[in-house]
């Protein structure tokens, strides 16, 4: 079964939990394990939070969440039209943050990379950022 879902949300902190709920509901028919659900929820939360706080930095804007599955292969795309990232390689380094004063620790990208199978980032300064993540769900039953 292949499926697809796209939602767009206002760049509000409240909406991150909504994005997690939507991603969890989208993968639910595939009977993911508890660990897989938690990994995907966390990765979505990281990328959507980044779009809101870094991409738009408190300004209004729209964040898109695109979900696809090809069998048990999940693809998640989170995009914004915010400020973009100057140096993607540095941004992806563990502990790199441009907002240490806001109690950020620079772990978001590292979490996405370790909780998902792959993470691809495209960004244009002034144009926005698009994060594409893949994860292949295991072939186990739900209660494993």
């Amino acid at each position: 079964m292949n499926n697809q879902l796209k939602i767009e949300m206002a760049a509000l902190a409240e909406n991150v939990s909504l994005a997690r709920v939507v991603a969890t509901a989208f993968i639910a028919p595939l009977d993911p394990s508890v660990g897989e659900i938690s990994d995907i929820k966390t990765a979505v939360s990281e990328a959507v939070t980044n779009a809101i706080i870094h991409g738009y930095g408190g300004n209004t804007g729209t964040v898109a969440l695109d979900l696809f599955n090809n069998g048990r292969e999940i693809t998640i795309v989170i995009s914004d039209e915010g400020v973009g990232i100057e140096d993607i390689a540095s941004a992806r380094e563990p502990l790199f943050t441009t907002k240490p004063d806001m109690e950020r620790s620079g772990l978001g990208f590292t979490v996405m990379e370790s909780f998902m199978d792959s993470v691809h980032v495209i960004s244009t300064p002034g144009g926005g950022t698009r994060v594409t993540m893949h994860k292949k769900l295991g072939e186990h039953s739900k209660n494993e």
């Binding site: 902190a13 409240e14 991150v16 939990s17 997690r20 508890v34 660990g35 938690s38 929820k41 966390t42 939360s45 990281e46 939070t49 809101i52 706080i53 806001m102 109690e103 950020r104 620790s105 772990l107 978001g108 979490v111 370790s114």
Partner: protein, 115 residues
């Protein structure tokens, strides 16, 4: 996200409930800091038993509270984390500076031992 505070000697126990993400961390931070500053406590225990989700924003919030406790000569301990919280906690490297215990009473005992 709910928060409940309890003072036991020099230890403040904050019981958190819900999903600890950026939005909830922002709401929680001032409540927790005001209560801690106005208390005689130097140690802080965060009871995570009813926290169902946490991401890096939660880690950032915890590091900030760790620093506050340290400023008062105290410590921070996390109690009752579920396995997905524990995974992120270990992954972040936080377990090197912040203690974690299975129960709140273990956390209190640990900190009162250190006075």
């Amino acid at each position: 996200m709910g928060i409940q505070l309890d003072i036991q000697g020099r230890v403040m126990v904050a019981t958190l409930e819900g999903e600890l993400d950026h939005h909830q961390a922002e709401r929680l931070r001032p409540q927790l800091d005001t209560a801690f500053e106005n208390s005689p406590c130097k140690h802080l225990v965060l009871d995570m038993g009813e926290v169902s989700f946490m991401d890096s924003s939660g880690i950032g919030m915890i590091i900030g509270r760790y620093k506050n406790a340290e400023k008062r000569g105290g410590q921070l301990t996390l109690a009752c984390m579920n396995s997905s919280l524990a995974k992120l906690f270990e992954f972040s490297g936080l377990q090197k500076i912040v203690h974690s215990t299975a129960t709140v009473s273990d956390a209190i005992a640990k900190m009162e031992g250190g006075k």
